[in-house]
Symmetry: C2
Subunit: 568 residues, 2 copies
């Protein structure tokens, strides 16, 4: 019964609240005290941008629990507006300050769970201390932004990650002008650049003034706030949101002598134990194990934070419970599109030097003959050997989250691209296809690993040789509507009649709209002895690629040497 | 290159068309001939009800491929209106009849793929030969139904499986009167009865006159068609659809001496080979291996048929490729609801004598504080030992297909309910919850297997003992709005203050709305030494159960002995 166990929890959102509730379910007799620096516990921080947007009209809907409800349900002693200032691991006490009265006191613990979360990064931009420059992390931040919006018309959002994108959408939803500034050449820096082009289009289509490759160098205060950007331009606004990212809040942990990991998060083992006996840590403040590649990582997500809280409570009561690492499964709504991902990205794998293969498909979310079908662009990364999944990204108006959830589960199950071919998923015309996008991705990836098709990459377009022919195997109508510069037209359905026109000495780089007809053409030509490679994802993939830094660089290179068939 | 291989394929939809296209991709030189008895190949048979409904306005959208397009793309010789009448396995020839001219001829093959599909069951109901009694399987059936609808106002649908449900919805969509007659006490006979109550409500809410536990005994022809039902009533209609089910079309296979399996489908091995060398069979006509329990099964589904066609072609060309069995993943739209399932059902497991545990959850498809959240009712079946998944069913207005796809993938990956606790899935308020319905199901199931909570079943209500107390731990407001008869109210948040009222000699059968508060109450009471069990799925589960045959029987039993707390 651990009848006398005193459990102290620092931080009352996600991980902390989960740890507290779980602890009570495991021990009716434990003394459980939860300290929260802010005025609220267990609020829906993921909902903040949507209340600002007006999509969630009632503020109180964000307050999932109150100190009173947690007392009634779980007999938790919850103290808000109370900061834990110091930990004495040897004495097993914490120093607690009541932020209303300023009084401090010592509180003993048998087990301490730290769930301090992460704090928004505030870079040292001159002028950023202006009260019109704000961040969004908690209810108070939200209330301040809403108050500032009362007479705002022009807004600036700095940083195009999850929060930045959600805030840009929220402000547009309120009818405000939005300039969205992002230092990189892409939004959603966690994603691969060749998968976010549709988000750029969607933001602009919805009236967001998107400035990529650009940062704020300073703010100038006046009747209006002026942001001076790195491209030399200025943006006047009534309110600016800094959404550059978050970093683990580790001040208390460092002061207590807890070890941090190489990423700067609190180091924990698989039981969420810190380097000090009697102290656990969970949530955005901790360094996790990357579930795909096993290295240390900082992946601040709500689901893992909740799970970690539960595991810490289990461990405190001696229950076998281990954290299996974080996969990085995430989704973000960007107006009418969703971007979802799980596992590693191409750029992540490249940075780590991990070998991989990749394919792209653009299937519809459900049978195209049934109304309302929307395309999904899906990128799959996998091991070159056995075909184990390494990561996936998807973007589309419907069904992207479903396919990423399936792939995230497949990764957890250790499945391969060959298993995706076999995946048996829900099919009726309103919900999917007899060959689901997951099956399609599996077929394409398995074809690559079995050697049934060789692929070419858009990067090769900049250095096409004389003996290489870029061949568009779509129809004349599609070709005329837009093709890769330098491509010859040879519709797949006419290919058998035109074999005499082909030169066995050449290599054919074929492509179609999404990759399927290119694959059929590749099979046809390769069986007849021609050298042929297909562009995975086809013209649609090329369109998404040509706007990336790599695509733009290729275009510049081509312009310089005047190659006609450079393709970008 | 197998340069001279002559491949003959019988049946030009799903499995047959897939086999033909795959064969061509594997061999440019093979002679591939596809015979189809009907006038169309590769049509979207799953779309037929939606064209009848008018939801898919253009008929031609259902014609995915034509003989001409298959010739152009894959160099396939496609002969429609051509029936294969006989197979001579020794001579390796088929006898083919041109249904337009009546002429027959012999066609030799090196490899023969049978994909004849399934045919609608037409029971020997007197009067069912009336032309106003129709079935729906192909384009011709659809055209005939549409023609008959021209001056129809009242329709009768017999059988409430996938086709029957889709046809009932289609007719209502056209504004017609619909009587839906089903022999069982539930629609969707493949599902468990305690999961389809919401479909019954949805059908009735949309004006379908649903008659359960009732069958058509005869049809009487006249100016109007009259169906005489087993309950003594009559239904007058202008058009009746028999949607009682399908059976494998095995006439040709039997004539050719191919072995059938115990289910009546063509027996095939994991490479889709029949008992005769040189003959493969795929699709709805074959007996498959149940991927969960390894027994023989008939599971007619489009996805598996396509996959089997591909595997047969692989095997013909000596490629290693095996069919892993069919899981039975399926989904059906019923007006604004979707019902989805994968793996085994409770009644299937009971019939086979396989031990299992089960839990029910009713989470929302996404964060409830974000607008538009809809509840999902999810039932999970799993092994009592390791917790491997055996099957799942879900019903809801949104997100049911996603969760079943995740669970189907988890089953393929050999995951357990403990892995579902850890599943890392897409979360943002519009798409899911930090604790996804999948995690919730995992938590609840794992709690059962770990012994953290004991469950009671609604069937026990009929035989409650003196020493058992039925306890509603919801709020007074919820309790007053409706509870299980005989339940005492003891809100979970007041339980700690009312412990003195409890009797340690009694066993407490607690329940809440969906099961979560009941679990919290169970943990509280069990730690204090009380005997307590929770109702998985809570009051909502009980509501779904009380309309089932078991629930109605319990109600009758209670009425007879006058027990006050029998609960139904």
């Amino acid at each position: 019964m651990n009848s006398s166990k005193r459990i102290v929890i620092v931080g009352g959102v996600a991980g902390g609240a989960s740890a507290a509730a779980r602890a009570r379910r495991l021990s009716e007799s434990a003394e459980i005290t939860l300290f929260e620096r802010g005025p609220y516990v267990s609020f829906a921080n993921c909902g903040l941008p949507y209340h600002i947007a007006g999509v969630i009209p009632e503020r109180k809907k964000l307050l999932v629990q109150t100190p009173e409800s947690l007392m009634a349900r779980f007999n938790l002693e919850v103290q808000v507006n109370t900061e834990v200032e110091a930990v004495d691991p040897a004495a097993r006490t914490v120093t607690v300050r009541n932020l209303k009265t300023g009084q401090t006191r010592q509180v003993p613990y048998d087990a301490l769970v730290l769930s301090p979360g992460a704090e928004p990064v505030r870079p040292p931009i001159p002028g950023a201390a202006d009260p019109r420059v704000r961040t969004l992390r908690n209810m108070g931040d939200m209330d301040a932004i809403l108050a500032a919006l009362a007479d705002a018309r022009r807004t600036l959002v700095v940083g195009a990650g999850y929060i930045g994108l959600e805030m840009a959408e929220a402000f547009r939803h309120r009818g405000l002008d939005v300039v969205l500034v992002e230092r990189l050449e892409q939004v959603m820096s966690v994603a691969d650049p060749d998968m976010v082009g549709p988000l750029h289009d969607e933001l602009r289509r919805n009236g967001v003034d998107l400035r990529l490759g650009c940062s704020v160098e300073s703010f100038e205060a006046g009747a209006e706030l002026r942001a001076l950007l790195s491209d030399g331009s200025q943006v006047a606004c009534d309110l600016a949101i800094l959404a550059i990212g978050v970093r683990p809040e580790t001040a208390l942990a460092r002061k207590a002598g807890l070890e941090l990991g190489p990423t700067g998060g609190i180091r924990v083992d698989e039981h969420m134990r810190t380097s000090e006996p009697g102290i656990w840590a969970v949530g955005d403040a901790v360094e996790v194990r990357d579930a795909v590649l096993d290295g240390p990582a900082l992946i601040p997500l709500a689901g893992p934070a909740n799970r970690q809280g539960r595991i810490a409570a289990d461990d405190i009561f001696g229950r076998p419970s281990t954290y299996k690492g974080t996969q990085g499964t995430a989704v973000c709504k960007v107006f009418d599109l969703a971007f979802a991902m799980t596992g590693q990205t191409e750029k992540g794998l490249q940075r780590l030097g991990v070998p991989f293969r990749k394919i792209y498909v653009h299937p519809a979310d459900h049978a195209t003959y049934y109304p309302g079908a929307h395309p999904i662009s899906l990128k799959l990364l996998f091991e070159p050997g056995e075909g184990h999944l390494l990561g996936a990204q998807a973007v589309g108006a419907a069904g992207a989250d479903k396919r990423i959830d399936v792939l995230a589960t497949a990764m957890r199950g250790g499945l391969t691209v060959f298993d995706l071919e076999d995946a048996e998923l829900c099919y009726a015309p309103p919900f999917g296809s007899a060959k689901d996008p997951i099956n399609m991705a599996g077929f394409v990836a398995a074809n690559v690993l079995r050697g049934d098709v060789a692929l070419w990459e858009p990067e090769e377009l900049a250095t096409l040789r004389e003996d290489q022919v870029l061949m568009d195997v779509r129809t004349l109508t599609e070709h005329r509507a837009g093709t890769i510069p330098g491509a010859e037209l040879a519709p797949v359905d006419e290919l058998r009649d035109r074999l005499d026109d082909l030169d066995p000495a050449k290599e054919y780089l074929v492509f179609c709209q999404v990759g399927l007809r290119g694959y059929v053409a590749s099979r046809l030509l390769s069986q007849l002895g021609f050298r042929v490679r297909n562009l995975s994802g086809g013209y649609k993939r090329w369109q998404m690629w040509k706007g990336t830094a790599a695509g733009l660089a290729a275009e510049r290179a081509c312009g310089e040497d005047g190659t006609s068939a450079c393709g970008a």
